[in-house]
Assembly symmetry: C2
Homo-oligomer: 338 residues x 2
């Protein structure tokens, strides 16, 4: 069944009429969920004059601070065709912007799935973007920041160490990697904290409890979180699409997610990359454990399906919509779209 | 003319049919603008294992870092009725979420203006939200974080010092201040850096250059930035709506903004507040200098127009839509809406 759908996709790439032009939303908006209050004391009071024409301000930071909350923006199309809400969870050093646009200004997967009738939720993981970050180092240790060379060389865009300085790409790479486009991408890269995983997982659970059982499409670090959240609360997932997950759940507890239909997708150049090949091997080990327990994980290696040249940021690649269409068709085949 | 429109508003509060129910967008999306690259060197390499099932990661932070960029999300309704793009610029310790929702889950001013046919741009100022923050203290000094008591007592919600602990409100206050709602508000509060004003102003100019001359609605710190940006590039403003600006432009150069129609709005309890009364006096001094140079600044004191109980976060107050309607009618009266 899945193979047939993919074959049809590769032949025709049919985009229905509603996938371009104006889009009608029932509503849109945002909210924050989760978090906890941490009491701080003994910190110095700060005084400053905010701006020209302002009035002096005295900030006493002692007291309760809200920590670990998470931001979500929803867009509910009219009519809806998805039978469950659809969530887009981003990866490390990134925010929900991952899904909103591409470095060359095309529409992102957010628009792709909204246009196909999914009530779509885009989140910023705890600590990043509009979720805010707690005081550092008092509450969380100082975060890590990526220099411009790092994603180029680590996300399978350039051809290995030194490729950013050389400006060279992996052959056939589909990332829209002109210098201007790459700078557009780097503008959306943010810092990442290392001691927040428990807060992130708690907030994703709070999100799913608020919205209800959902289809979750998760990228990279978000994929690791998604598997771990699903192991705690499998009842809150209708399906799980793992786009190059950078980690897994706990293999010994793989049976906990056996009732969730799962799709695992990796792009190109994985075998030749010492780090991504290890990560995919781990993901396949976890997937095998899920299958062993009676579950379903459909494992898609994009190049072997004729979709080649994909970087780690495959939702931004020039052929990113072909990957989204593969996901859409898989969800439809699972009966989650009408 | 303006007085007549306000009178009609206060009598009828007419909401046209398109202001509820589904909304049609021509498109929506986001982008980042501006920023600069700062070279870092001599920083230690960090190594860590990201997550279960991941692969060890080595981050060398030395090299170029993108700093000072700004995030914008746009929603373009169909049909459009505004004759220029409309921007919503938030205040200090906040992000664009200010405009997306209210603490009790109603629609925000973003939806208000999109529903009325404005192509609407919501931004996160440099350093906040999805704009990302530069490495600290290497590039920017450590930011300030607000404890939960601060906005309650400073934004004219509670009745002065100690009111957060008491849980008491200014009489007649319209902020939706149940404990749950207030926590929803605090979840969107973020840190604020003190050494980023030049980056913020440069990014707002880059935004306006990209989008073109716009109507700018700016709140609090955003109002101070708006006046300062307008003094540098008055050609990029079609109108300027200052919602409780927390600062001004440079009085000696007020003539530079004399050709921009301006609306100045403050809410309730201002005279009795030692800090806000100073801030409003400064704003009125700047406005008088604009008028002296031949410009127009319409100065609205909401209580004297029959709109009472407004906190500093008046777009979130229970009567926030009445204030938005006042702004909308003023823009229409200026010929900017058809």
């Amino acid at each position: 069944m899945f193979r047939t759908i993919l074959a049809a996709l590769l032949i025709a790439t049919p985009l229905a009429a509603q996938t371009t032009g104006p889009i009608t939303l029932e509503n849109f908006g945002s909210f924050h969920v989760g978090g906890r209050v941490v009491e701080l004391s003994g910190r110095p009071v700060r005084e400053y004059l905010p701006t020209v024409g302002g009035a002096p301000l005295r900030i006493d930071p002692n007291g309760g601070h809200v920590v670990g909350q998470m931001y979500a923006q929803f867009m509910v199309p009219s009519p809806q065709r998805g039978t469950a809400p659809l969530m887009l969870w981003h990866g490390a050093y990134l925010t929900g912007v991952t899904w909103e646009t591409t470095p060359d200004g095309r529409e992102g997967w957010q628009q792709f799935f909204v246009r196909r009738g999914w009530a779509t939720y885009v989140t910023d993981a705890v600590e990043r973007g509009r979720s805010g970050a707690a005081m550092s180092p008092e509450i969380w240790a100082a975060p890590l920041h990526l220099p411009t060379s790092n994603p180029w060389e680590r996300f399978r865009i350039g051809d290995g160490a030194g490729s950013f300085a050389r400006g060279t790409l992996l052959p056939g790479n589909q990332f829209p990697a002109t210098p201007d486009n790459y700078m557009s991408f780097m503008r959306q890269v943010v810092a990442r904290y290392l001691d927040t995983d428990a807060d992130v997982i708690a907030a994703y659970i709070a999100l799913l409890e608020r919205v209800g059982p959902s289809v979750v499409i998760a990228h990279s670090q978000g994929g690791a979180f998604a598997w771990q959240v699903a192991q705690q609360r499998p009842d809150l997932f209708r399906a799980l699409v793992l786009i190059e997950p950078a980690g897994t759940g706990v293999v010994a507890e793989a049976a906990r997610v056996k009732d969730i239909p799962q799709l695992l997708v990796y792009g190109d150049y994985v075998d030749a990359d010492p780090r991504w090949s290890v990560i995919r091997t781990n993901a396949r080990r976890f997937s095998a454990a899920v299958r062993e327990a009676g579950g379903t994980v459909d494992d898609v290696d994009l190049p072997s399906r004729g979709i080649s040249g994909n970087s780690h940021m495959l939702m931004m690649d020039r052929n990113g919509d072909a990957v989204a269409a593969l996901v859409q068709d898989w969800l439809a085949a699972k009966g989650l779209w009408r």
